[in-house]
Symmetry: C2
Subunit: 142 residues, 2 copies
């Protein structure tokens, strides 16, 4: 073992381990209720939160790979949870927007999500939760 290298302070490991734990905990909920993948849930939630967006804007918000977004949009569209609107100025672009059914599903999952988030919040305590959120946001600028 190299002395300068320690798995316990190697951020890619720590992050990935914790992230899997946290995201998989909530995944069970949307997977069991709606048979959604993680990408689909993230796209739904992003559209639910921000309203109409293009695929590229969803990518900017989520960091998802463009093929994941493309497939998730297709799949959510097939459920009739979103509709595509043509953009007048740029025919390459679709304005993606949740239908009322899509919004209902989103709202239902928000409730579950808020409850889940609260559980983590309580576990960490308000201060540490806030600190963690802040640090994670800061990493986005790396």
């Amino acid at each position: 073992m190299k002395s300068e290298f320690d798995l316990h302070s190697f951020l890619p490991f720590l992050m990935h381990h914790a992230s899997e734990k946290i995201s998989l905990g909530f995944r069970d909920i949307y997977r069991d209720r709606y048979r959604m993948t993680r990408s689909e849930w993230r796209v739904l939630a992003t559209l639910g939160q921000y309203g109409a967006l293009t695929a590229t804007e969803i990518i900017a918000h989520t960091g998802l790979h463009k093929t994941k977004v493309s497939r998730a949009v297709f799949s959510i569209e097939q459920r009739r949870w979103l509709k595509r609107g043509q953009d007048e100025n740029d025919k390459r672009i679709h304005r993606l927007e949740l239908t009322s059914q899509g919004n209902s599903a989103f709202n239902a999952l928000c409730d579950a999500g808020a409850a889940y988030n609260q559980k983590v919040h309580d576990f960490l305590g308000a201060d540490d939760f806030k600190r963690l959120s802040g640090l994670l946001e800061k990493l986005n600028d790396l």
Copy 2:
């Protein structure tokens, strides 16, 4: 949009986003140099750090799914980077241990990993880095 629910304080999103950013940054290194997958790198690193382990112990350390570990071990074994030793008392178990070639590869990646980790460390600053590591470790007990 539900008022109680905000993507910017929803931990599964924050964590996953940040985690992908951080782990993918380093993945380029082991992927380009050795054509390794993330699971393979994690298994290699775990064995490098802790010495001989069983597959179950690797799972305990990393949180990886058992099929990922099984496949990663097979693949690393094929590179001659690890060897399996039979356990005297329990024939189901293999003691997995890096060969000297495996250790060389691990050491080389440690150097790159330490450099990468340092970059993040410098970006966050020592205090925030330490705080973040601590919070991530705390989440393992959730």
